[in-house]
Amino acid sequence: MHNSDKFNIPLGPQHPALKEPEGFSVALKGEKIMGMDIRLGYNHRGIEKACEERTYIQDLYLIERVCGICSHSHSTCFVQAVEEIAGVQVPKRALYIRTLIAELERVHSHLLWLGVAGHEIGFDTLLMYTWRDREIVMDILALLTGNRVNYGINTIGGVRRDISPKQIEEVYKGIKTLEERTRYYIEVATQETTIIKRLSGVGVLSREDALRLDAVGPTARASGVNRDVRRDDPYAAYAEIKFNVITDDHNDVYGRTVVRVKELMESYAIVKQCLKDLPEGPITVKVPRKIPAGEATSRYEAPRGEDLHYVKSNGTEKPERVKVRAPTLANIQAVKHMLKDRYLADMPIVIAAIDPCFSCTDRLVYLSHCEPPKGVKQSQKRDCFASLAMTSRFKNAKVMSWEALRTYSIEWHRVHGIDFSELNNTFRKRLEKR
């Protein structure tokens, strides 16, 4: 075979290394990856559209099924947006219970990831170990919510189940065992030669690239980006809870492993704080079925990174628009970059390292009339948003430069009562510090 020849191999939608249906077309030169195309959409079910046809309460359960691993993340993110529109003050006890479930979910998700990562590098013992221990947290979740996955604990205005002192005892017991086991995993992840050698230098993403490609969650934190919605924009009870944001500067898959394993310990600490400070009081307030007109965006630190929901209400009992931006969509761009000029054998672990969830990611953006109208230069053709702005539907819209868009958005938020000047200053200071 000619050495200079590039050839394409398709990976997926069904492939032993992939747990979900997604297609990759990898351009190879020998063993080296020259480039790749990602084809998503096998998991697209049309949840956003379905949300518009159902009531808010029904949507809650539908949104929970965007993803079965971070189901609480999606439902909390959605419910926060709806509560913001409705102007509901959620009882404190409910917020603490939400935080508690969120952290337990993070524990189960990170343990799951550690096992999958072990599996992808041929270390199946680790898979069996972590999944055995993961059952402890699954038991706790089943005890508190009634289901192992898709908890259904959230409702608009609070939570559906209260926690009894007896349950708290059980949770403490489980967490104690998990802490012990996690200490062992930290030891394995940071000292085991096989893991260090296999994961170091694989899937490198520098800090600059992480910022440029908008990586989120543990993927970004392992590249030294100190970013966590729980601390930066506290929701639920996080404002009252002390915890550390774990970062690492290895920039590779090894760093991502370390970040996730250490985050487990932080999660245990948060769970214990939640249980200790659990306030007394009601767990839910009554919210009318019809939500007043308005729109809201809500952010949430899911186990995989920042989750974003946008809800627009028109005053009826069904939302007008629901938009989900899952963390994997932000991270998937980075994968392409990480794999460039790397070996094909690294592909499974590099993809697994961002902890991808394609059922979260498969949302749809439909750009009508992508062909530019007459008079638009060919060079502008690729810019779909530019042509979108010129279609009949957006006749009055204009194309903005990035700087103009930024100024416009700052102004828009100022009019709506949000002042960014202080935030900008803190950002600048933080950047200068580094």
């Binding site: 697209h44 079910r45 099924r65 079965g68 189901s71 799951l112 059922s359």
Partner: protein, 149 residues
């Protein structure tokens, strides 16, 4: 029943190799299937092993509603499996379409595309339910020749 047939049936029941295929599920059933294969539930004690390719598999374990995009891939994978083959639909979505019934990109349950041997409902189906379903499927394989004979 001839001796060879007996041996083949015995071998089939003692080592059903499975292929897991996500046809548009939310991951919940998928992780429960994997959980059923790990130490707490240990489906492997029935000889069940997870395989990477349809050509090695006897049982296709599907999760999730069939999306329009995955439909012809599912059929293609089903056709690649050697006879005799069995399909297990795990989770309410794969049984009937579940909450996604009526979504514009969803065809419905697995049985709307390929024949299904066992349905395991639940959202998600718990590992215990999955083990129960698989055990019942295996038991039915043992009975089948008797009915015919």
């Amino acid at each position: 029943m001839g001796l060879i047939k007996k041996v083949v049936t015995w071998a089939r029941i003692k080592s059903p190799w499975i292929l897991h295929f996500n046809t548009g599920a939310c991951n919940a059933c998928d992780i429960e299937i994997i959980a059923a294969l790990t130490p707490r539930y240990d489906l492997e004690r029935f000889g069940v092993q997870l395989k990477g390719t349809p050509r090695h598999a006897d049982v296709l374990v599907c999760s999730g509603p069939v999306t329009r995009q995955i439909e012809d891939r599912l059929v293609r994978i089903y056709e690649q499996m050697p006879e005799p083959k069995f399909v297990v639909a795990v989770g309410t979505c794969s049984c009937t379409g579940g909450v996604f019934n009526g979504c514009y990109n969803v065809r419905g349950g697995i049985s709307s595309v390929i024949p299904v041997s066992a349905f395991i409902p639940g959202c998600p189906a718990s590992p215990k339910a999955i083990i129960d379903g698989v055990a019942k499927l295996l038991a039915s394989l043992a009975e089948e020749p008797k009915k015919k004979g």
